[in-house]
C-alpha cells in the first residue's frame, strides 16, 4: 500500500526526522517550562510538550509498522531487509529478522522507549509543575538521543547499495522461537530502566526528592524493568541451552554479562527503595543507585555494537558506537552531578549506622552491598581485556575464564541466599517465634546438607550451598502470614523463587558429561543411562536439510529416543540443535558434534540434574515482579 504514496525509505526517514524534531521541541521547551516563573505559561508549554510526546509515540509505532511491512513484503531496496531477510524465510522469522540487525534492534528499543514515555507522560501527571516539567524534559532528552541515533547514525530505512532479488537471509542461530521473543523482552526491560534515570534527574533538579510520588513512580519502572529484563535474560539463557550446544545456559560471554549488570543494580535499587519504609537513609542510596541501570544498558549496547570485546553476540563494528559513547559520557556526568546533589536533595539527617544490629534495614543494606559488589566484580572482569591493554601491552588480549566467574557467582549466590533467610528471620516479632523458626530452618538446612552429601554424593561445597538454600527457604516460608499484604506475599514468593534458582543452579553444576566417538550400534554408559547409536537420519524440508544420529537412551525407568541434529540451510549456513529429554529431576542432553565419512559420529552427552526446577525458578523470578505492579494498581483503585 505504501508504494502508492512513494518510497518506504523516504517515508520512514521522514517520520524519524519528525520524531527527532518533536523530541527536540519537548526536551527544550520542557526545560524552558522548568525555568519559567509564570505558572500559567508553564502549564501552556507543558500541555504542548505532552502533545508532542504523544505524537512521538504514535509516529514511532507507524515507523515501526512501516519497517515490519518492508520485511513482510520482502522489500530488498531497504538495506536492513536485504541484510537479514530472504524470500524463503518463514513469516515468523521475518518478524524476528526485523530486530536481528543493528538498525532494526535500535529501532525496536527506541519505539519501546517512545511508547512507554508517551503513556507515562499522558497518564501520570502530578500536580507539581516543576517536577512534571523536569521529568518531561529529561525523558524527552533521552528520546532525543535515541532519535538522533536513528536519524544520523544507525538508519533503519537506509536503502540497499545494489538492487537485489533476494536477501542474505537470517543467521540460522537466530531461527529459533526463543530468539523471536528474547530481543523484544530485553529491549522492553532496557526501556523501562530508562525511567528511573529520568525520575531521579527530575526529582533532584526540581527539588522534589522528598516527595512520595517520586518513589512510587520509581518503584513502578524498576519493577517493570526488572521483570522484562529478567525474562529477556531468561529467554536468552534458554536459547543458549538448546541451540548453542555448549551444554549450558550461561557462558559468561561479555554481552551476556553486560545485560546482567543493569538487572543486578536495578534489583539493588528496588531493595533500597523497599528499605525506605524502614529507614529514610535509603533514599540517598536509592537516588545514587536508580539511574545506574540506564547507563549500564547504554554500556551493554555499546559493547554489543562497538566490537571492543570479542563475543558471539556482537553485531561487529557499527557507526553508532561514537554517538553511544557520547551518550554514556553525558549520562555518567549527569549521574555524578545527581550523586553529589542527592544528599541535600533527599533531606535526610545522616547518623552513623549500627552495622552489627540485626534488623530488616541492615539486611537490606547488606543485600545492596553484595549486589553492587557483584556488579562491580562482573563489570571489571568483563572489561578486564581492555583494562589490561591500558596498563600493559596493547597486543595482550586476556579474558577471564568461566571458572573465575563460576566461583564468584557461586559465593555471591550462597551469600545472598543466606541474607534472604536472615532478612526473613529478622521480621519475627516475638522471641519464641524467632527461636522456633531458627530451629526449623537449621533442621531443614542440616537435613538437606546431609542428604545431598551422603545420599546424592555431591561435593561438600555444593551440599553446603544447598543446605543454606534450604535454611533460607524455610525461613522465608515460615515468615509468610495470612494477614500479609499482597506486596509482602509476592516479595516472599519471589524470594522463594530466587532460593530455588540458587539451589537448582548449584545442584545442576554437578553434571555428568562425556564426549565420545560412536560407530553404528555402539553404546556408552553415562551414570545409570545407556546410550546406543541406532541410525543416522536425514530429513529434507524446503529451506533446509536436517541430519544427525538417532540415539536410544535406556535405564531402569525410561526408554527413549533422542535425535540431536544439524540443520543445513539452502544458503549453505548450518547450525546444530541439541536433543534434550527433560525429566522431573534430570535432563538428558545430547549434542551432535560431527560425523566422519566412515559413519562414525561424535556426540556430547550430559546428565544435568534439577534443570526443570531451574527453568521454573527463573520464570518464577522473572514474572514475580509483575504481581507487584498489580499491587500498585490495587492501592490506587482503593484510594
Amino acid at each position: 500500500m505504501i508504494t502508492l504514496f512513494g518510497d518506504v525509505s523516504y517515508w520512514g526517514e521522514g517520520i524519524l526526522a519528525a520524531i527527532f524534531l518533536l523530541c527536540s521541541f519537548a526536551a527544550v521547551f520542557g526545560l524552558a517550562a522548568l525555568k519559567l516563573d509564570a505558572v500559567s505559561a508553564s502549564q501552556k508549554i507543558l500541555s504542548c510538550v505532552r502533545a508532542a510526546v504523544s505524537a512521538v509515540s504514535i509516529l514511532s509505532v507507524i515507523a515501526f509498522l512501516l519497517f515490519i511491512n518492508a520485511f513482510v513484503r520482502d522489500d530488498f531496496s531497504i538495506a536492513a531487509v536485504a541484510g537479514y531477510s530472504s524470500l524463503e524465510l518463514p513469516f515468523f522469522y521475518k518478524l524476528s529478522a526485523v530486530w536481528a540487525g543493528p538498525a532494526g534492534s535500535l529501532l525496536l528499543w527506541s519505539v519501546c522507549v517512545f511508547v512507554m514515555f508517551g503513556l507515562w507522560a499522558a497518564n501520570s501527571g502530578t500536580k507539581d509543575i516543576r517536577y512534571d516539567a523536569a521529568r518531561l524534559s529529561a525523558g524527552a532528552f533521552i528520546c532525543l538521543g535515541f532519535s538522533a541515533i536513528l536519524v544520523f547514525a544507525e538508519k533503519p530505512f537506509a536503502g540497499s547499495l545494489v538492487t537485489l532479488d533476494n536477501g542474505s537471509g537470517l543467521n540460522p542461530l537466530l531461527r529459533n522461537f526463543w530468539m523471536i521473543i528474547h530481543p523484544p523482552l530485553l529491549f522492553l526491560g532496557y526501556s523501562a530502566l530508562s525511567f528511573p534515570f529520568v525520575i531521579i534527574i527530575a526529582g533532584i533538579f526540581a527539588g522534589k526528592m522528598a516527595e512520595a510520588y517520586v518513589y512510587k513512580q520509581l518503584r513502578f519502572w524498576l519493577l517493570l524493568g526488572i521483570c522484562f529484563l529478567g525474562l529477556g535474560i531468561a529467554t536468552g539463557a534458554r536459547w543458549s541451552y538448546i541451540v548453542l550446544g555448549w551444554g549450558g545456559y550461561w557462558a559468561w560471554d561479555p554481552v551476556e554479562n553486560v545485560s546482567l549488570l543493569p538487572w543486578l543494580i536495578a534489583v539493588a535499587s528496588l531493595h533500597s527503595l523497599v528499605g525506605i519504609n524502614a529507614d529514610e537513609k535509603f533514599k540517598l542510596w536509592t537516588a545514587v543507585l536508580a539511574p545506574v541501570p540506564f547507563i549500564l544498558c547504554l554500556v551493554a549496547t555499546f559493547v554489543t555494537r562497538s566490537g571492543i570485546l570479542q563475543s558471539v553476540h556482537s553485531f561487529g563494528q557499527s557507526a553508532v558506537s561514537g554517538l553511544l559513547l557520547t551518550f554514556i559520557v553525558c549520562g555518567v556526568l549527569l549521574w555524578l552531578i545527581c550523586a553529589v546533589k542527592a544528599k541535600k536533595a533527599v533531606a535526610v539527617k545522616w547518623s552513623s549506622p549500627s552495622p552489627f544490629h540485626l534488623n530488616r534495614s541492615e539486611i537490606l543494606f547488606w543485600v545492596n552491598v553484595v549486589l553492587v559488589f557483584t556488579t562491580i566484580i562482573i563489570g571489571v572482569a568483563t572489561f578486564w581485556p581492555i583494562i589490561l591493554q591500558f596498563v600493559t601491552t596493547p597486543d595482550l588480549n586476556f579474558m577471564l575464564t568461566r571458572t573465575f566467574y563460576d566461583k564468584v557467582i557461586s559465593a555471591v549466590g550462597v551469600l545472598l541466599a543466606f541474607l534472604l533467610g536472615l532478612g526473613a528471620l529478622a521480621d519475627s516479632q516475638k522471641r519464641i517465634s524467632l527461636l522456633l523458626r531458627v530451629l526449623s530452618c537449621l533442621a531443614a538446612g542440616v537435613i538437606c546438607f546431609g542428604f545431598i552429601l551422603n545420599h546424592e554424593g555431591k561435593s561438600l561445597l555444593i551440599s553446603l550451598a544447598c543446605g543454606i538454600c534450604a535454611f533460607s527457604f524455610v525461613a522465608v516460608l515460615t515468615g509468610v502470614r495470612l494477614t500479609d499484604t499482597i506486596s509482602r506475599t509476592n516479595s516472599a514468593m519471589v524470594h522463594l523463587g530466587v532460593l530455588l534458582l540458587v539451589f537448582a543452579a548449584g545442584y545442576s553444576s554437578a553434571e555428568q558429561s562425556i564426549q565420545t566417538v560412536l560407530t553404528k550400534g555402539g553404546r556408552i554408559l553415562l551414570g545409570k543411562y545407556e546410550l546406543v547409536y541406532d541410525s543416522f537420519e536425514h530429513k529434507t524440508f524446503n529451506e533446509m536439510t536436517q541430519m544427525g544420529p538417532r540415539i536410544a537412551v535406556t535405564s531402569k525407568n525410561i526408554s527413549l529416543s533422542l535425535w540431536p541434529h544439524s540443520n543445513l540451510y539452502a544458503d549453505d549456513q548450518s547450525i546444530s540443535e541439541v536433543a534434550v529429554y527433560t525429566g522431573l529431576f534430570k535432563d538428558i542432553y545430547v549434542a551432535f558434534d560431527g560425523a566422519a565419512k566412515d559413519g562414525r559420529v561424535v556426540i556430547t552427552a550430559k546428565v544435568k540434574p534439577m534443570m526443570l526446577w531451574f527453568w521454573i525458578a527463573i520464570l518464577w523470578v522473572g514474572i514475580g515482579p509483575v504481581l507487584g505492579l498489580f499491587e500498585d494498581k490495587r492501592i490506587e483503585d482503593a484510594s
Binding site: S9, Y10, F20, L21, L36, I45, A158, G159, L161, D165
Partner: protein, 223 residues
Amino acid sequence: MRVKLIMLFCGVFLLSSTAAAVEPNTPAQDTVKMLHLFIQADVNEIRFENIWVFERQSAKRPWQVSINLPDVAENIILDEPNRATFTEDTKIIRANLAADLAVDSVGFSYTLANRGGECRTFIKPDYKVNSVIVSAAGRATGLASEILKPNKFLASHSNAFSRIYSAYDLAVGTKIEINLTGLPCRSSQVFEIVCILGLEAIIIAALLTLLYYNLKGKRRLSR
C-alpha cells in the same frame, strides 16, 4: 547455346559474388533474432549487459552489423574486442560476424548514471527485431515502457531476475523505451539537514519564549 548459358550463369555468379564482396549487406537485410538485456544497478550507476543475436538469410559472405548506444553511455566493454569496434564520437559499435554462419551474436555492456534512483533511456535498432527480453534485477526496480510488457512466465522460471519484460516482432527503427524507477540511491541528507536546522530553530524559539515571559514578568513587577 549450352556454352552461352553456362557463361551467363558464371557471369551472374561472379558479379553477385563480387558485389557481395565489395558491399557488405545493408543492416535492413538482417534481423535481430533475439535481443537480451540484463539490467543491474547500484547507488552510482546502472549496468546494461547486452546480447544481440543476429540472423541472416544466407551465410558464407562477410557480415557486419552496427548498434547505436545511448549518447550518455559510459564504460563500454566489448565481449570480443578482436571482432568489434566502438567509436566514442558516434557511440556506434560495429561488429564483424562469422562469415560462415547465418546466426551470430554480439555481446557488450555499458553503464548509465543512476540519477536519484531513476534512469530513462531507449534502444533504437536499425533492424527488424524478433524478440526483446529485458531482465531487471531488484524487486523494487520498476520498468516502464510502451513496448515492453512484463513476462510473468519467464520471471517465474528465473532464479536470478525477478522482473522480466518482453516484446516481439518489432519493425525496423522501433524505439524501445526503458524507464527505470526504484533503483537504489544514496540516502538523501535532506532529513539530516532539516533536523539540525529544526533543532537550532527550536532552541532559539525556546530562548525567545523565556526572554518574553521574563520581560513580561519584570514589566508587571515594575508596574
